[in-house]
Amino acid sequence: MVALVATPALAAPARVVSMNLCTDQLALMLAAPGQLISVGSYAQDPDLSPMADAAKALPANHGRAEEIYLMAPDLVLTGQFSAGPAVRMLQDLGIPVQILPPADTIPQIRDQITRIGDLLGRQDAARDLLARFDEGLARIPQRTKGRALFYDANGFTAGGQTLSDTILTRAGWQNIAADLGITGPGALPLEQMVMATPDLIVTGARWPGQSRAEAILDHPALRHAAKVPTVTTDNTWICGTPFILTAIENLP
């Protein structure tokens, strides 16, 4: 028992670099002052990150092996989708890298908080955060509101096992895409979207500039079908963090 308590304190990394938008946010919530020395540049973008202000206090990295190596980290946190050649190179250079899977469900988010807490040697902070998260979840009443559909650029929707599905269902909406048998993100042709006659449409946030991919969200058929309320997602829909409470509470 003594060893168990002592080890994390000894092993707690002092120079942590996070290079994934989602690990950035959890590390910002859990790290001790000065322990986290850099976050990914996306974490500083208010369109993507609800913690942009906190992230701006730290130097940003752009996921490149060279810049991260020169920061001399003793732990690098990254996500599965950010793990590319840069991560392999850092591992070859002998830097410990932790690759974390995306957290899409509430149990996965809880596990992620615990795991990052352990990795940073900040178990107490993780326990506090979990307690606040659970308290927030408990405040949201269980309700049934109707059938909702998430619809994003390129006609992509979010089926079961996605963060959007977690947010929708916890807010009391039935996710039509999951009912249609879609698991994970998947394309839903505009025709089927119209035929599904949702009671609520949740569209993806719009990015600066223009793209044909997003033009589908302006399609007249969508506007005709959407005589129902339409809400737009924001930066709290991207990562599995306690910020999903805000996303759930902001849904009608």
């Binding site: 650029a153 025709e191 793209s211």
Partner: protein, 328 residues
Amino acid sequence: MTPLFRLLVALVLALFVTSLLIGPAGVGALASLKALVLGGDGPLPIVMRQIRLPRALLGVAVGAGLGLTGAAMQGYLRNPLAEPGLIGVSGMAALGAVIAIQTGASLAFALALPAAALAGAAIGIGLLVALAGPRGGSVTLILAGVAISAMAGAGTALVLNLSPNPYAANEIIFWLMGSLADRSLVHVALALPPMALGAALIATTARGLDALTLGEAAAQALGIDATTLRWRLIAGVALIVGPATAVAGAIGFVGLVVPHLLRPWVGARPSRLLPASALGGAALLLAADIAVRVITPERDLKLGVLTAIVGAPLFLHLIWKTRSGGRI
């Protein structure tokens, strides 16, 4: 009306109706057509009128436009390789469209999109005619076309890569290959009027193109004014290819394949090849667009993939015939 034209019209009509009836929503044919014509409540009329009808209409219009411009350019340049997609006219139109979209001009003013694409196409075809002209050989035309295509493709990729929008760079493939997925009646309204004007202009060149088959001097002796013919042709091609590309991307090979397939059936006369190619182009593009929906209903397979699968072997066949000494 000759049997060939009757056959082509029937084919286009059949493919148009098929295009209206094919879609992921999986509704019965009768119910679909009833919803299309009579409207009614519920989501089906929206699907038929706002999603499938524009797609089928654009299939006809863009296909016909590409077939027509292919035939006109092959007739004017007297070169079987002249085709809006292959020699960069569509690529220049795509560049114009992308610039209009990424600068926000198309948001401020909807007509900016077809207008910019039209300007791009006009520059492309203008350059070609200046470089290759009715006397230019195949080599000049292809060299000019390769240069224009490369420039247009690079420009399009550059503009899209510089966009702050995370999706924009992935759309290079749309602008290079073309697609009719999820277009709306707004796009039909933007593209159709200038395309109709362009088709009318090209129709006036039919007699001139016929005369040109005898050679430039003979055409002039027959009273064909080379300058006005050239300007009508450039304007007509730009008016068709520009708006078509602005809404459907750069679809290649339609203008190459269709005139080649139909030329033997119309006695190689440009004046008869023009309307035949328009109908043939509409049929080919509708068929390709039906095929992309049947082959991969869940993803947006680009039209250019299918037209290239049909077009590239024809290109190889052309090379084979040139090699064996026969005329193209």
